[in-house]
């Protein structure tokens, strides 16, 4: 038992097993008060958790309530810790693990600038069409595409644009919501 734990000869121990990490999307409802985002981010940096994506916006203006969507990776134990640590913060109303709830939808928006002429330009437009990206700015030598979708779709589109003259990308990060009639506790 516990053979995977290295005998370090210390009061502290080193766990050398490679634990499976998972990616989870968390939705956090918070009071939109000064410093609340710093508090959440400080929790992640202070305790060594990962942030892959973070979005925030006030969602109920009359109640001054914001919704933060965080995509994070960690072992199941760490993900549970993150949820508990978030939940006990004073301005946090509720936390939902959209990944565990299963049927939820995540989306992000990207604006992708591509410069090129001739064959490459035509190819970029063709791919954009296939990805249902909209052209939101066009000149004779460049386009800006707007694309909404799951992160991997956005990733894929961006990587296809690289050989076609990708100049820059702006991404919003992930927003997520669960399916069905119920909403999160505010």
């Amino acid at each position: 038992m516990n053979a995977h734990l290295a005998a370090t000869g210390s009061a502290y121990f080193l766990d050398t097993t490679k634990k499976e990490v998972e990616t989870h999307t968390l939705a956090v409802i918070v009071d939109n008060e000064p410093g609340v985002l710093a508090r959440v981010i400080g929790l992640f940096s202070g305790r060594g958790y990962n942030i892959d994506s973070l979005t925030v916006s006030e969602t109920e203006h009359n109640k001054h309530v914001s919704r933060i969507t965080i995509v994070t990776t960690g072992t199941p134990q760490v993900i549970t810790q993150i949820i508990h640590q978030l939940d006990r913060m004073v301005p946090v109303h509720s936390v939902a693990d959209l990944t565990v709830q299963g049927s939820s939808i995540t989306r992000e928006l990207a604006m992708v600038k591509v410069a090129g002429t001739g064959e490459k330009r035509v190819e970029a437009l063709r791919l954009a069409d296939a990805f249902r990206a909209r052209v939101i700015d066009a000149g004779t030598t460049s386009f800006i595409f707007e694309l909404t979708g799951k992160s991997d779709k956005v990733e894929q589109f961006i990587s296809l644009m690289v050989p076609l003259g990708l100049v820059e990308v702006a991404r919003t990060g992930v927003a997520g919501i669960s399916r069905g009639p119920e909403g999160m506790k505010v």
Binding site: G9, A11, G35, Q77
Partner: protein, 590 residues
Amino acid sequence: MSTSELMTGAEIVLKALADQGVQHVFGYPGGAVLPIYDEIFQQEKVKHILVRHEQGATHAAEGYARSTGKCGVVLVTSGPGATNAVTGLTDALLDSIPMVCITGQVPTHLIGNDAFQECDTVGITRPCTKHNWLVKDVNDLARILHEAFYVATHGRPGPVVVDIPKDVQFAKGRYVGPKNIEHKTYRPRVKPDQTAVKAAIDLIATAKRPLLYTGGGVINSGPTASKLLRDFVKLTGIPITSTLMGLGAYPASGEKWLGMLGMHGTYEANMAMHDCDVMINIGARFDDRITGRIDAFSPGSKKIHVDIDPSSINKTVRSDIPVIGDVAHVLEDMIRLWKAAGHKLDQKALHAWSKQIETWKARDCLRYRPNKDVIMPQYAVQRLYELTKDMDTYITTEVGQHQMWAAQFYKFEEPNRWMTSGGLGTMGYGLPAAVGVQMAHPKSLVIDIAGDASVLMTMQEMSTAVQHRLPIKIFILNNQYMGMVRQWQQLLHGNRLSESYTEALPDFVKLAEAYGCAGIRATKPHELDAAIKEMIKTPHPVIFDCRVANLANCFPMIPSGKAHNEMLLGEDVADEDVGNVIDAKGRELV
């Protein structure tokens, strides 16, 4: 005064404190809090205790809070006042001590300008408080102050900061009273889930080698929790150990008491932790000083974990049955359900378990080699205990060997009598904490069991004690070393005593006289009792310079790399061998 009348921010602060029932505030003035100090001058309800350093104010508030169960209150100025408070705030966060710290701030229009004595107080204290607020509108001030008390004292207690810019202290606004002010959304769970309690009880009923492992959560929950804990032990007959922070919840004279557990805990407590089959953790958090190597931690037990903070569950050690709730509520339900179910432990098994524990106890793990010529530090604490045990005594400590000897040799019968810096391990905690305790209990005997190095970190608070006529007793186990550092250097670093000897220590007796209090010294074992008695009967603050053996080590100890059942007992190691008990890899990691 009618509530519709307008008040200044400074008036609101004092009114809010009075309405919260605050009687004592520990603080230090400065430019950014002068309006509040002006109000303090003009009222009598709230007494201000002027300290000598803001860190002292925070530890005094901690001692006050821990010994009374009330919220400690601190008032400091902006900039350096606030940064000096950071150590005490962090200490209170790690030990879950309720504290409201009010800081002055530069006027709102200067915030962000690098103004004189400006610092980003809410930014700096965000990670070391449970919550904090910057008050930008005087009309929010009263509500925020009441919310601050609510947050500090509800759920898992902790320190909070309210940062008040100077213009807000002058501005006029509406006051609202504390009635019905909770926090908008913060509602910690105090009542446990009944199915969890039931599952816990049913598991305990099947145990053959059960053990209670209790912590500071029992103390924080209040005296009822300690009483219920004692009832539960009596009802079930389960043996009990506790963390450093939980001492006193169950009486040291109690029949089922195994002593403290952990790195310097007793042999019997640690062996019982290792071998138990059902562990009932009540209000403790599986700290690394308790568990030792996690992979070898109590390998055969099922674990019940009672905690008010869900984030404590499964943080380091997986628990089989988590119970979220306030300890007193949980214990009440446990006792009720245990009785209702008519549970009784397997008496034969329990008897065999007690027998096993007796054999561990027989090792007499706290034994040390007595000495006729030099005062052994353990002996000093034992004598102190014997001569003060029948009095109304409170003990605080600094951090180091003396702290562990105090925990091992001073026996606590009641909760709230033991104040020590457990989580942060802050040298300099004990003296100001004693100031706070004495303020709350003016007639009691308050003793700081101190180390010579630690006590110099906040020695200036002796002047506070003299000013406020607080007859605290500073009992220094003077070994001239940072003993705990020296012990680790001996164990881990080839006995190269790098910077752990304090050259040029002050003459503590003369220092006492310089502060205007009494100095007493004992250098020989035969002088000790008389000197301690003299200290006890001195009606003023005392600094007691107890000259102890310089090179004594603190045992038992779970050395690095070992499990609970591989403790090092004092008798096992001759001083020459101490350096060989930890291997190279272990040295990197402790």
